[in-house]
Symmetry: D2
Subunit: 384 residues, 4 copies
Amino acid sequence: MPDAYTPKPEDKFSFGLWTISNRGRDPFGDVVRDALPPVDAVAMLAEVGAWGVNLHDNDLVPIDATPSDRDRIVRDFKAACERHKIVVPMATVSLFFDPIFKDGAFTANDPRVRSFALQKTMRAMDLGAELGAKIFVLWGGREGVETDACRRPDEAVKRLRYAVDFLCEYSIDRKYGYRLALEAKPNEPRGDIYMATTGAYLGFIPTLAHPEMVGVNPEVAHEQMAGLNFVHAVAQAWDAGKLYHIDLNDQVPGRYDQDFRFGSANPKSTFWLVKFLEDVGYSGPRHFDAHAYRTEDDEGVKDFARGCMRTYLILKEKARRWNGDAEIQALLKGLGEDGAPQAYSPQRRDALLNETFDRVSIARKGLAYEKLDQLTVDLLLGVR
Amino acid sequence: MPDAYTPKPEDKFSFGLWTISNRGRDPFGDVVRDALPPVDAVAMLAEVGAWGVNLHDNDLVPIDATPSDRDRIVRDFKAACERHKIVVPMATVSLFFDPIFKDGAFTANDPRVRSFALQKTMRAMDLGAELGAKIFVLWGGREGVETDACRRPDEAVKRLRYAVDFLCEYSIDRKYGYRLALEAKPNEPRGDIYMATTGAYLGFIPTLAHPEMVGVNPEVAHEQMAGLNFVHAVAQAWDAGKLYHIDLNDQVPGRYDQDFRFGSANPKSTFWLVKFLEDVGYSGPRHFDAHAYRTEDDEGVKDFARGCMRTYLILKEKARRWNGDAEIQALLKGLGEDGAPQAYSPQRRDALLNETFDRVSIARKGLAYEKLDQLTVDLLLGVR
Amino acid sequence: MPDAYTPKPEDKFSFGLWTISNRGRDPFGDVVRDALPPVDAVAMLAEVGAWGVNLHDNDLVPIDATPSDRDRIVRDFKAACERHKIVVPMATVSLFFDPIFKDGAFTANDPRVRSFALQKTMRAMDLGAELGAKIFVLWGGREGVETDACRRPDEAVKRLRYAVDFLCEYSIDRKYGYRLALEAKPNEPRGDIYMATTGAYLGFIPTLAHPEMVGVNPEVAHEQMAGLNFVHAVAQAWDAGKLYHIDLNDQVPGRYDQDFRFGSANPKSTFWLVKFLEDVGYSGPRHFDAHAYRTEDDEGVKDFARGCMRTYLILKEKARRWNGDAEIQALLKGLGEDGAPQAYSPQRRDALLNETFDRVSIARKGLAYEKLDQLTVDLLLGVR
Amino acid sequence: MPDAYTPKPEDKFSFGLWTISNRGRDPFGDVVRDALPPVDAVAMLAEVGAWGVNLHDNDLVPIDATPSDRDRIVRDFKAACERHKIVVPMATVSLFFDPIFKDGAFTANDPRVRSFALQKTMRAMDLGAELGAKIFVLWGGREGVETDACRRPDEAVKRLRYAVDFLCEYSIDRKYGYRLALEAKPNEPRGDIYMATTGAYLGFIPTLAHPEMVGVNPEVAHEQMAGLNFVHAVAQAWDAGKLYHIDLNDQVPGRYDQDFRFGSANPKSTFWLVKFLEDVGYSGPRHFDAHAYRTEDDEGVKDFARGCMRTYLILKEKARRWNGDAEIQALLKGLGEDGAPQAYSPQRRDALLNETFDRVSIARKGLAYEKLDQLTVDLLLGVR
């Protein structure tokens, strides 16, 4: 029965093909769910109310498919997407599953691996373009080390730059119109992964040949694995005009990559994230990169997917109310008006240097952040 | 204006004297609030609706007070408590602030420090008893190391055991009727602290001469600093009959000791904690060991204290509703009835060894934990 | 070419069958090495100089083997062990790989799973006994939750106690003479695992029906995942007489379970561990529960195994030198003689209460721990 | 007695005035060491063999000093520096100690605080220039939040940009010739700090008006608090031409800011850092931002300072030997020659797309990283 929290296409909720098809294998246990063919996954996404589906090349086309197999698979998938009114906003490439990538892809020491990674990515870009994707995500899941003996880390940066520059040229050359979104992660499956945080990629992009077509794809779990405040990373990306895509899920800090249902680990930090995306008017996909607990069957997978979207919509409504809450807004207003800051000039310099500040009295002013935060808790818990 | 979430004495909410009197000093900055004399602190606690106050010896009596000063201070404090109907359920001792404890107290290498720590603790026990406390907390905040070169860690365990055994005898001897509650912490202010987790103390207690009078005082922040699930530690303590006291606050995992307002970092994990305490019928104090943000003045301190209690009561009501939610309870019921497990016997052994299990079919059953958890999220967020 | 760091049988180095047979699968990638049949694994262990091999039931016997297959496999394995002079000091049971354990084993909600887990463990105990093992390890890798909605955590403790009590009776009944060693881990593959630390198990054991036959199996990586000081946990276990077995490997704190080569992540913390084991005279197996990087072929697996043992022996020699270093020992001696602490008595009480301490002067004494630690660094780095 | 590891001026070892003058106060305890006047600190640095001293404005000049006091203090300090041949390569400003900064400085909500922060920084730049410093570090230790309710995080980024742009203009205007080095930290003393990692600042710099004069000052402890690989961050900064300064110390991941003696927590990760700095020819100061354990007296402070430099020099010599080790170099050479990567062109594109790769055989090649890392361990431990 639809309610205020039922997803609609304009919410732009997308899921990775790999998320609802996740079979539950982990380092200590075998698969628990049957394979879900891509066309069935599309049907399931339509059933739960999603708008889009994203994919790695090999989520859809096996790595050893013949060209004709490949074409048939893609044709069937496109038909399923059309039938179910599901779009493909983003595509990506698996540069981590096949054993050839055991030492990384673009940064691997073996030049053949680096070449193969480029080839595979170009083909994945072809595939994504064919499916209508305009965002291409690059996650260098194995670009890293267990021991820094194996290569100098600045060499890895150079190799990565070469690859991204190359792929930008390819997109231009093919007129794909892609925006590339780089996804950071601190560790797992490698001991350490290069470009450990979204910030690192924001620093890397300006060193590229085509910075204007490259942005980031921050993932909740990946920043929180390092115990970092996710919304701060998202805000920096937004400020820099680089928030091209986002991976929504949840994660307890300082652990293995959990990819939990959106909002399930910490609804409060999730609230700040949803509020930020809505406040700034982020118009891209709300992509869930998560998977159902291993305890679930196919019904549980649907519960999982529905829960991701539902929690987003509940928190979106909370954000609207927070912005309209008179007591909250009055507290914020009391913190000090901004005014336009004045640019540097000799006059401004001298005025500032000559200004007298009553340090003690300014310091004594209480800021009422405890109250502000408690009002937020009340609002979140529905008692306000 | 009182509402359903206004604290009452029967809620047994207590605060450390050090919590509302916290002046906001941190490793990188100076005090931001004036000293709050103990009698004023008692008045403030009464004003916000608390039931009890706890204290370290030196929260009340300066370390260098003369006996007559000490007696006057204690007399005034007792009078304030009576006037404001505030009880003192717990007392403890500062074995960390004075520089003499820079290498620990009961485990310090210098035998004079160990002796002084015993003396100081006996006197703190006298003080607590005089104030009516029946629980005595021991937090070995400096029992640890920056380098394991300085002593063998099993020697530290032996020294700690000697001290606790000694203090148990003292309580018996003086007929104080104390229950000692040991409080664990993994690190800070020492590089590593011995007895890093509540579990470690649960393992230590059975090695004591008087295990029957020693339990634990788990603290939310201290377990969560190590990224551990707090309610699991509390449950083990409860199961062992050792949950003598509890320190409530909040903390983001993997960081410095934050001592945030109860429920402010993660309302969902806090919910499981409140639900557990209420479900099992924990009847001890709900003690808040937290402090206001450094941005706050005295009004902000009250907001902080009120928020701790309010969030507890909101979550308590949520727990009541969770237990009465028909859909949630039906899901739980479907997970499998327990029945009394049969004790070992040759018959039971053989029956079990001969039983045939349909591994595949049992494994395929979906457990609906995603649904169960999403219903919990809905309930927590007030949309259910 | 053998040198001072070549392993000998009396070093009691053992490896899990699963460690050198690890095929390198991880959550993001496929296997990279061929299956290594158990008899070949035994040959490899002999080649690199190990003394023992440990195993889960299904490392040797597939879960669906027929009784006759099982007997043949075991016979061949025993023959290989005898041929290569490899002993089996420890056995354990896989209660995590098969999908039936997706919700845990002894603590699962489905009573059939709990019964099957008991049956499977009894059979694994039979197998271990047949191979000569006297230590039986229990690692409850899936005894945990992703959401605490699914069961009350104290119920999990009760179920776990029932199971361990049952299995103790079974060992007694069958006259296996096992010592059970419980292995803790904070998380992964479950969101949270019950009995998260070695300390938690030390607290659990005294609540059992047969505490005298149950101890712990601490693992470096498992404590360090939670950022805890491993040697402190080992020391507490040793002090309690409960260090029945140990899992040696290495791990960077706050990450996925890395199971790195012994000493490879942090040689200094590893040094304190080796020194402790040698100083107290731990006489059990030095068991390596680690695996080769995924970048390695079979030769790399041997390099890995050799490296584990070599680093242990290097650090053992460092520990010997540390204990004999005059400057280090003089610093330690200067820290204060211990003397036998006096038991509680009214006389001792009064003497202590009346003693006068010069707080200030005691506090001013420098303890030279920086020097002590730097001498350790010098010694470790071979420049002393 | 000088040996190969005795510091020389050309090693460019510097210490913060605040490091050797640290009095050992922490959140749970009082000061343990006497105040060390700046001129005495300079003498101590000279005694232990340092080359430079760095300072916050208020390390030298009290916040409430009169202009004439200020001038006298500076004059005496300069004289001491000259007398002891100690240089001042870097200066910085305290925007965190005084209570006025309780809500941050450049990002504080109160515009008066932001103005005062600018004024204070301009004056600190004057001071640094007077002392000869050419590097000016900005650490926004309180630019952060306990609750994201208090401001939108993109607003904080804007405010920070305004301030850095302003200060760049000031340096240009005054012809100070400063290079500004921004220092990241994830948390503590704030719940979360904006610009949590060195990568975040590398992403921020290109959005400034004068990116050419702004770089980073990475600190070991600050990246490792978030569990990140420090040398990877340093390598990215180096690659971007932005490694203007560096803060050397040590830190166990996932904890409070420990600021331990260089190399004391993990000599192996420290080795990769020293090796990187020496390999690339970093020519800036080797600045130690650490402090002695709280157990130390003044002699212990000197032990601490000497240890920092000694360990650096030991590891530098290890790096030299690693680079010259034939077996290590042969392994590296076998990993694949690089050759100059070819730029994108239609020809290169087609050649790559048409290339055939033998995935299976490439994947099977063992990379000998276990051996490479074990040889490193052997070399580090001095047995090679």
